[in-house]
């Protein structure tokens, strides 16, 4: 498969503060990666850096062989990066369907198709963003990112704060998206086993640096290493 994304020696942060140091990873078209680490280790910052919302102090970001860092955030979205931020960012003045149509770009993901994977959103199509439950909001956040028809979906703690049944349902949906192979996925998740179960490769960050990389199934089968790398002492 062709290279989709390359992060090479990236150092980045906010203002004068450095959060990521010399981070490198790569992703092929249709690939999947779990980005793991304890709280505050730079996982979200890496996603935000891919979206162009931090200060890039060094290194390269390459997207299909071209310089991603040169693009402003909205052009990165147009280029094929779909971002599901941790905060979800629902608009109280927009209905479910307006959230979807406002960002729609041509491609295989249409309103009809996202309603097929999230039937509840179709039932709630006329409801406003602030009238949705937490589970419905997360479904809408993922559906909205799909409407951009991304080549890479960035999921930042998609299970956070949700009840186990909804977590499992989102796991099922994300697994289907990954298996479909039509787009690559990076999953940031505090619950490491969830992210590892969804992905092909894993990278662990510690204090802004990559300290481990392996196949996800290999890390999942090695509870001692997993515990050492991601558990809170």
């Amino acid at each position: 498969m062709a290279e989709l994304l390359a992060v090479e020696g990236v150092t980045a942060g906010y203002g004068d503060g450095v959060v990521l140091e010399d981070v490198s990873l790569s992703l092929e078209e249709g690939d999947s990666l779990a980005l793991l680490g304890r709280n505050g280790m730079g996982k979200t910052t890496l996603l935000v850096t891919l979206m162009g919302l931090t200060r890039l102090r060094g290194g390269l970001l390459r997207w299909r062989g071209r310089d991603l860092a040169a693009l402003p955030t909205h052009r990165r979205s147009q280029a094929g990066l779909g971002w599901v931020p941790q905060e979800r960012f629902m608009f109280p003045s927009l209905t479910v369907e307006e959230h979807l149509t406002a960002v729609a770009r041509p491609g295989r993901w249409t309103v009809k198709k996202v309603y097929e994977i999230f039937p509840r959103l179709e039932e709630r199509r006329g409801n406003y963003g602030n009238q949705l439950s937490g589970g419905e909001q997360q479904m809408l956040a993922i559906a909205r990112a799909l409407m951009v028809n991304p080549s890479l979906l960035l999921l930042d703690e998609p299970m956070e704060g949700l009840a186990p049944i909804i977590v499992q349902e989102l796991m099922n949906v994300i697994r289907e998206l990954v298996a479909d192979g039509g787009m690559a996925v990076i999953v940031v998740e505090q619950h490491a086993k969830l992210a590892l179960a969804l992905t092909r490769q894993a990278v662990v960050l510690e204090r802004g640096r990559v300290v481990h990389r392996s196949a996800s199934e290999q890390l999942l089968a090695d509870p001692e290493t997993l515990h050492r790398l991601v558990s809170v002492s």
């Binding site: 439950s133 009840a163 186990p164 349902e169 089968a221 509870p223």
Partner: protein, 194 residues
């Protein structure tokens, strides 16, 4: 070793439904939401059928069998886990009986809640034993050829029930539970206060 992720995922799926049921019944007992027997019925069907049709047979016939061949010293652990699969069926039958009593007589709610708590604890301990003791041992003990056979079994959708692959049928059942369970457990309609 894809089977490890699948086993853990299947555990999560069963646990999520049991825990959802447990938490909802706490709310029912506190008088905050009404009881929904259709939802409980869907959850019971999942908790009963998913392990029996899809999960335990693959564990017993493939993972446990290969472990017995490779690690005879693991026999006590495997015996205990297989016995728990059988005991689990009996425990679930008892649980189902308490639900049926509750359907006929609402005053038995406390007994039903307690039975769900007990079943939840039994299931949790069994699952932890498999994930904390058996799977790490299996990851080290089994050879690539073992994992290939186990992975194939766990990835297989060739277990037809009601005319469709079992995994698809359970996927639809799970989706139905999500759709009718009230928030925050699912995305169904808000439960009206009782």
């Amino acid at each position: 070793m894809k089977a490890i992720a699948i086993i853990q995922d299947e555990h999560r799926a069963i646990t999520s439904v049991i825990e959802g049921l447990r938490h909802m019944l706490v709310e029912v007992a506190a008088g905050r939401i009404p009881v929904d027997h259709a939802l409980i019925g869907a959850m019971f069907h999942y908790i009963e059928a998913f392990p029996e049709k899809l999960h335990h047979p693959k564990e017993d016939d493939f993972l446990f069998a290969r472990m017995r061949a490779r690690r005879p010293e693991a026999a006590p652990l495997l015996d205990a886990l297989e016995a728990e699969h059988a005991v689990g069926r009996e425990r679930f039958a008892e649980l189902k009986a308490t639900w049926e009593r509750f359907r006929d007589d609402a005053s038995t709610l406390a007994a039903f809640v307690e039975a769900v708590e007990r079943y939840s604890y039994f299931h949790w301990r069994h699952m932890r034993k498999e994930e904390d003791e058996l799977l790490p041992l299996a990851a080290k003990a089994l050879a690539d050829e073992d994992w290939k056979a186990i992975d194939t079994a766990f990835l297989s959708n060739e277990d037809p029930i009601v005319g469709v692959p079992a995994s698809k049928a359970f996927r639809e059942l799970f989706r139905r539970i999500v759709a009718i369970a009230p928030p925050p457990w699912g995305v169904g309609p808000e439960a009206a206060p009782r």
